[in-house]
């Protein structure tokens, strides 16, 4: 961005849009299990995700642009997660929070989907069981970095 002598601010639309998107990422309330409690804790005053722009967690997938899959995905819940992901409007990002969402975690059995990336594409994985809220904040930072650098999900529909 540059300031011209006539007090015009010049910038590329892409940059402005990415700045706006990255500083107002609104997550979907996709709390499944123990990681959901740490996700709720990240909204509490000690960790405060609102200062990163995630002021509200939207319950409707139509209004959210970040899905934080926090917790183990059971067989019965997997189609629901996929449907919610499909219902989100582009551009959208996904954080797979915790070991169970990333890879099935400590539950290598009949009931748990071994990683939510088998059903939806994931942008950032957060290790931990459950990850500390700091870990989730770092993941949101990485998402913001990905948005700013023009990763998947720019201002246009993702390629």
């Amino acid at each position: 961005m540059e300031m011209s002598p006539g007090h015009f601010l010049l910038a590329r639309l892409d940059d402005v849009a990415r700045w706006a998107q990255s500083t107002s990422v609104w997550p979907l309330t996709m709390g499944l299990a123990c990681c959901a409690i740490e996700m709720m804790t990240v909204t509490s005053p000690e960790y405060d995700i609102a200062r990163l722009g995630s002021e509200v967690f939207r319950s409707s997938p139509r209004q959210a642009d970040l899905m934080i899959v926090s917790g183990r995905v059971a067989q019965k819940m997997a189609p629901v997660v996929k449907r919610l992901y499909d219902q989100m409007a582009d551009p959208k990002w996904v954080i797979s929070m915790g070991a169970c969402a990333s890879s099935g975690g400590i539950f290598d059995n009949y009931a748990i989907v071994q990683g939510v990336d088998t059903i939806i594409p994931v942008d950032v994985y957060v290790p931990g069981c459950p990850p500390s809220p700091d870990g989730l904040l770092y993941a949101v930072n990485l998402i913001q970095q990905q948005i700013r650098e023009g990763g998947r999900g720019g201002i246009l529909a993702r390629s």
Partner: protein
Amino acid sequence: MTLSATPLTPEIVSRDGNAMVLSMGPQHPSTHGVLQIMLEIDGETVVTAEPEIGYLHTGIEKTAENLFWSQAQTVIERMDYLAPESNGLCYVLGVEKLLGISDRIPPRAQQIRVLIAELTRIASHCVWLGTGGIDLGAISGFFYAFDLRENVLDLQEAAGGARMHPNYMRVGGVNGDLPSGFLPKLDDLLAKLPGRMRELRGLLQANPILQDRTIDVGILSAEEALQWSLTGPALRASGVAYDVRKAFPYSGYDRYEFDVPTRTEGDAYARFLVRLDEIDQSLRILKQVRKDLDTPGPVMIDDTKVAAPPKETIALSMEALIHHFKIVSEGFRVPPGDVYQSVEGPRGELGYYIVSDGGNRPFRVRTRPPSLYNLQALKGIAPGNLIADLVVMIGSLDPVFGEVDR
């Protein structure tokens, strides 16, 4: 509709063909987790509510059958994820009964177990209070409650090593003594707690909006509560003073003085007040435990067949080395038998029916999940009420779905 009108029975609610079936959940801001309720509604009034569970079924009980006795505790701790150490406590108490070492647990280990169990009860009630408040729109209560929870989790992290799921309880005692600097921090929390509870009560207890929304909502009489197998604060709010800590004391609870808050109205407001009173009683127990914790002592049983020997002795003693090797590579064996052990969790009577076939892995760990039975009562109390009341009822029953679905 007047403020304290009794709920309508389904026969009174008209069914003139306007009934609609609505699926509430499994992703919903107010269902406290992955719960789907198939609601048959007539306008805004619920005709029938059929909860559908299983959206978090993890196969924990089957996974535990394939892990060693001490490894199984890690998966079992993830059932009630709001009060993880109470799961661990119940499990190790049951295994200790089967092993026959219940009377050889060092007193300091028992005191630390009571300390951690009460801290985890306070942490769980903080989450209940915060999220229950959000359901009603009292969002600032959430921040107060979670700030309190942070202090409790700091203590749990210092003692056990992790904020949630520290796997701190072990068969034979606890995993390591309290670190230095823990007791002053505990004193700080005990000093902060009464003031914070006063603030929370001031925010919520006499709040006319909260009273409007919770008084006379979801009334359960004592007989109905017993029919639905309710336990914990929901049962005590209906007038039955059953608390496992008093009825079947464990881990030295009979040495501490505390009351069991009971009310008779049986509505959501009564359950709310009972849980707030329980936090006060937990504080009372914590103060008594704090005095006991001044005396040092061992925190793990002296039996190296069950508990790993101290690290310093492994390099010096052949037996210690062999015992350590055996415990790590094949675990310990528990004599055959079955036992039902229960503790008073924040949600009610958490019980495990543990069956051992004499091997080094549990044969069966059947959980008695308090939230499953508490949630089932929703089928009985929902009909005739508004959908908004349904949200209040779920919050007042306080289910956690890791436990309901396992």
